[in-house]
């Protein structure tokens, strides 16, 4: 793995190895207890391990639940009761703004909710940072994990688990996985993807790809496919381009994109995370994100090949980075600095084994 010698000390460095081991052992016992038995979300919809909350001690985050519940934050053996302020959302959902107790240690927390004697738990859904980086951090990018696509001697689960382990060994602060998480949206493939995702020792943000479009499967596991988050001074806008007619112009997404883009405007860099960009995609989304308030960078997958040097979306504004497929063993790290989101070389650090069709190298 390449490293940036000028990079400051990575976040959680002393904790990272221990954390990865704890996560792995804890999750081996605990995954089935979190979410439903099939891995689908339950009472707690947001945050979850595909769109976690990032907070500092004493800061606050918003949770979205199907109904009011007693909320607790858990880390290892410790548990903190939360005293949320509740508001109503359309569709009968409830939003809870929760303050994080000042004595929660940096690292991942589980959010627990108990209602009517039943407890739901979202592991790795709240990440506490001692402080957010001001100038530099590293972002890891995977795409097209295609869990369930068995084109190599090694299983798709093993290849992707090794890639996440590679991210854990490095200095990344966040991991983005931009779609085609599964081969065909099968719930069992989503469950397997979650098992891989939960080996990550950093917060993980996901979005939907065209291979994940089987009915509402993605929403059952991650709730919403369009959201935003901030990290340090930077804003990330995650949006849905999974469908044949990508970036649906008729549904609610365009309203969200406008509000999210406006909310992220004061930040340092704006970064889009999505599965793909097509010239024929919903024009409203293109005008919003690449003309009227252009986002600075777009990270995507879908093509299974790397972007050309200097590539931009065709409106000429947004720098476009495409990472080749994780199922073929690829990942890329970015240094996010005052100069921009700077890509390191695409890596292929994981051995996939021979292709089952007898051909050599990743398919084009």
């Amino acid at each position: 793995m390449t490293t940036n010698p000028s990079a400051p000390a990575p976040l959680f460095t002393p904790l990272r190895a221990v954390l990865a081991a704890l996560l792995f052992s804890g999750l081996c016992q605990g995954t089935a207890a979190a979410r439903g038995a099939d891995g689908a979300l339950g009472l707690i919809r947001v945050p979850n391990n595909g769109m976690p909350a990032l907070v500092t001690p004493g800061g606050s985050f918003e949770a979205v639940l199907l109904g009011e519940a007693e909320l607790r934050l858990a880390q290892g053996d410790r548990e903190w009761p939360l005293t949320p302020s509740w508001t109503s959302l359309p569709g009968g959902r409830r939003a809870a703004v929760c303050a994080v107790p000042a004595d929660v240690s940096p690292g991942p927390c589980a959010l627990r909710a108990t209602a009517d004697g039943v407890t739901d738990e979202n592991l790795r859904s709240v990440w506490v940072f001692a402080e957010f980086p001001r100038e530099h951090y590293v972002l890891a990018h995977l795409s097209d994990t295609h869990i369930g696509k068995e084109r190599y001697a090694r299983s798709s689960d093993d290849i992707n688990r090794d890639l996440v382990a590679e991210v854990n060994r490095g200095d990344a602060a966040l991991l983005a996985v931009t779609g085609d998480l599964t081969e065909n949206g099968d719930p069992e493939q989503f469950r397997r993807f979650l098992a891989v995702l939960d080996t990550a020792a950093v917060p993980t943000f996901v979005c939907a790809g065209n291979h994940d479009r089987d009915a509402d499967a993605y929403e059952r596991f991650f709730d919403t496919s369009t959201y935003m988050f901030t990290f340090g001074r930077d804003g990330f806008l995650v949006y849905d381009t999974r469908e044949y007619l990508v970036a649906d112009d008729d549904g609610p997404q365009n309203g969200l994109l406008y509000r999210f883009r406006r909310a992220l405007k004061p930040g340092r860099w704006s970064v889009g995370l999505t599965h793909r960009h097509e010239d024929g995609m919903g024009m409203r989304a293109q005008l919003l994100l690449h003309v009227d308030e252009p986002i600075d960078f777009l990270l995507q997958g879908h093509t299974h090949t790397e972007n050309e040097p200097g590539q931009r979306v065709p409106w000429g504004t947004t720098v476009q980075y495409i990472v080749p497929a994780a199922i073929d063993g690829h990942l890329r790290l970015f240094d996010v600095t005052e100069q921009g989101v700077i890509p390191r070389a695409v890596e292929r650090p994981v051995e996939t084994g021979e292709r089952k069709d007898g051909r050599r190298g990743p398919p084009r």
């Binding site: 959302l89 359309p90 009915a215 406008y258 005008l287």
Partner: protein
Amino acid sequence: MGFSASCLAAALLLGAVSGEMAFLTGSDPGTRRAAVLDTATGAVTPVGPGASDGAPVWAPGGARLAFSTKGEEGLEIWVTGPDGGDRRVLRLEKESLSSPRWSADGAKIACIAEGPGTGGRVVVFDAASGESAFWGGEGARAARPVWLPSTDLMQALDPESQSETAEKLAPLKEEALRDGALLAAGIFGDKRISTELVLVTRTQTVPLLPLLVKDSARFAEWSVESDRKGRQIAYESNDGGDRELFVLGRRGITNVSNHRAADWNPVWSDDYQWLAFESFRDGRRGVYRVLVGTGNVLPVAVREGADCWAPAWAPDDEWIAFVSDEEGVPRIYAVAPEGGEAVRLTDGKEWALAPAWRPKPEKD
């Protein structure tokens, strides 16, 4: 208003809404279906196959519907009766067809054809015979075409017959008088694309605004709509910093929405005095109307915690239908143009989008 009084008012209003409405039903874009709703009874008649169906549009007089849907080799256009019967399929080899619009006499259907490497081209079908021809000349790319109901606008653009503008318009007028003309968002550039309003005839595509405004190419226009008579056109542009609505008519070009938040998707009233549109001026996406002659903007459907979008005027302008996610699921509502109590027209878990009232039959 108390609960029972509110229910009574809603019941009275529900009884007042009548007529048929085409719309899209389905949460999953991949299985979204074109359908027709009887607004008085709530009965829904499916008319499309439910394969990424696009927004349905009525022929003048309301006897036929057209919408795109996914065929075996790409998108094709289905033309059906309001009960889904008497179906005709318009398709072109190796081309995906979308954005159908009927000519004012109902004899032609224009749509966008996208083939491998061709971008979007305007193609016009004869509604009776199914014969097709590409319009706009070699190499022209465009999106979202709409028919210009008359050549009055060309006269309005340049009433002086001796000017340079008149010279440019003369051959267009001749073609337009013979075959008809379209307005569209022309797409220009390759590595750096932009959109510009264009007039499209059988053999030519001519940027419209440079005839009137210097430097118009600096802005990206979209969503052009002609009034029923073809004397005024409304469009949106980022001229002014954010997206605004402009009207081009006999008095030149006027910014009729003028707000620092975005204003989108203008839709003419039947009496062509008003435009309904979407705006974020109160935070969330809401539906507003503007009296074009004065620029007076009034709210129609604005919700504090939800979005309202996709306005559609009823025949005779008695109602404005719109989509709102105020109950979690996007549903169609109707409200009097002056605002007030909205009536929910669709129910259930499935999304309802893209409402289009059935026009009244034309008088002989």
